[in-house]
Symmetry: C2
Subunit: 349 residues, 2 copies
């Protein structure tokens, strides 16, 4: 493997000079610079990343730890983080905790499982001496197992830390529920059954709070008995659809698109027509919503904006010593996407 010394020898200069040229320092003669750059070009020489990082005591690398790359929310966030970091001249390195592979659907309820995967990953990240860490959660919640004494600047995306040491970038679930409530009301629906996510869950609770605020502002009474709690899974939507229809509601709002698909399954079997006999809305705007028939009306997660903001926050923290965002938690608003699954039932005229 070719080194600075080789380049120096080939050019009859010292290794120090070669290094100065590579790092764009000004104290080098024009003629020498050109000669050395040409030889570097010809030989295809690449500075050894380990040696230079060690010497410089900085890697210009940002670590990304994701809870699970399979989670549909994760890839868009990660891709955006990577793009911004690259733009700003930082490398990224990705660690995947693969929580679903290890514990299927149970892991986001119990921090113990997370901890057992997280601690080694943080050690790894520490060993790599990354400049900063962005932690991308797979489910929005308050993380209690993030260590108090972790030294590396860290930003948390899609979840929040219990102790407010780390800036976090979150879905604005409350306004998300509010916007959905307003939308359904605007189409004339006042009898709305809600298929929520698991109880005591950040997404679930906040979305419901926003939804109730919308009803309340419109002077529409909220009926708790029309709200059912599912497991976020499609099957769960299917199982709860009967109850939701049994309330006599004109619209069913599912707190994610997967459960909405489950309701679709049930409604198809029943022979009713979605968007006409019954209205259905979802949440998340996952890609699958485009493939449902009729196209699902849903509220889209601002994943790319979360990724972008996380990366911006991270790099700002790195480049401006001591800087922190104004509030340690930043909420990013969702964006409504209208399909054909919600009927307009307002009285005409």
């Amino acid at each position: 493997m070719i080194t600075v010394k080789d380049i120096a020898r080939l050019c009859n200069v010292s290794p120090g000079t070669v290094s100065n040229i590579i790092n764009g320092r000004p104290n080098v003669g024009e003629e020498t610079r050109e000669r050395v750059l040409r030889v570097i070009q010809e030989t295809g020489y690449q500075p050894n990343y380990f040696a230079s990082s060690m010497r410089k005591q900085s890697s210009r690398t940002i670590g990304i730890i994701v809870e699970d790359l399979k989670q549909f929310t994760t890839t868009p966030i990660v891709v955006t983080i990577m793009a911004y970091c690259e733009e700003m001249g930082y490398r990224t390195i990705l660690l995947n905790l693969r929580m679903y592979d290890r514990w299927q659907d149970t892991w986001f309820q119990d921090e113990k499982m997370l901890e057992s995967a997280l601690i080694p990953a943080l050690k790894e990240i520490t060993a790599i001496r990354v400049d900063g860490l962005i932690y991308v959660a797979g489910h929005g919640r308050t993380l209690s197992c993030f260590p108090e004494d972790f030294k590396i600047p860290t930003v948390i995306a899609y979840a929040a830390s219990e102790n407010d040491r780390y800036p976090s970038i979150l879905i604005d679930d409350e306004n998300g529920g509010y916007d959905m409530g307003k939308y359904l009301l605007s189409k004339g629906h006042t009898k709305i059954s809600v298929i929520a996510g698991v109880p005591d869950n950040m997404h679930s609770d906040d979305r419901l709070a926003g939804f109730r605020r919308a009803l309340s502002e419109a002077g529409v009474v909220y009926h708790p008995e029309w709200t059912f709690h599912g497991t976020w899974l499609r099957e769960s939507g299917y199982l709860l659809a009967e109850k939701a229809l049994g309330t006599g509601a004109t619209a069913i709002w599912c707190m994610n698109d997967q459960m909405a698909a489950g309701v679709y399954d049930y409604v198809y079997e029943s022979g009713m027509v979605i968007g006409k006999d019954i209205s259905i809305a979802g949440f998340d705007n996952m890609e699958n919503a485009e493939y449902m028939y009729p196209r699902l009306t849903t509220n889209g997660l601002p994943l790319r904006r979360i990724g972008r903001r996380s990366a911006e926050t991270m790099i700002h923290m790195l480049e401006e010593e001591g800087w922190r965002p104004e509030g340690m938690r930043t909420w990013i608003r969702c964006q409504m996407t209208e399909g054909n699954s919600v009927a307009d039932i307002r009285e005409k005229g």
Copy 2:
């Protein structure tokens, strides 16, 4: 930051001994080992990855370059590679070329675009001194721009290199088309219109070849005029659906699920019933196929098996000097997934 020297001083031993303990060498006294390990534990010391990799001249790291992490085929491959590498004690580092961000849907037709993104990435990978590289393509094809003189052991997943220097792990498109042909024939369809992908494309051509083999084996004549070429996009399925229906075919086979969704769109508008009046099949088994109504019959890409085999091949090459797979190209067979979109039209009795 705490170093071996600090640990050595705290334990009254030499740095060399600490290093021996960390690396599990046997030439250390039991009592010393315990004492040192305890101090390492207490201090939370992590060996500097750069320093150690530099000295060892090996990073036990495998680089993964993906053409685009957004491509739905990529994540499952990557996740599986990461899991296997971790299992075998290797780190992975992921570089995302983001070809879609840079050039939308045009990049896989023109190697020039790829080259401009690939060369810097390969330099980066070289600088990091990874032990091996797995290149994950976003579209199956024969890559011409992979350099002749690239030194790092490389495996190509989901595409092949023009020069057969690199082992590649590919979709078995030919058998994929064959299995689909057999399936449709088994349901009594002999008048089948095909909506293929772009012409002169590896997936498109091989799938069609396999399909024709199935017809031929069954003694059914293949009608080239019933085959149309699309762009792989949903819109393209929609636009070609009219022509496909115009052939009088009883079944339409689309060479990916997205185009099948486009055909669904058209058929829904026409009022025909899918899986009854007209049969539709896809290819890929992307997640969306589960959300289509009726559930699409399709042939699933063996993405996890491609990832696994790529990683196995890589690590085998690294650990057994000079080893290469038997053939430089390995094809992995797809798996049919039956939905409700294909009617059984065999004569009863």
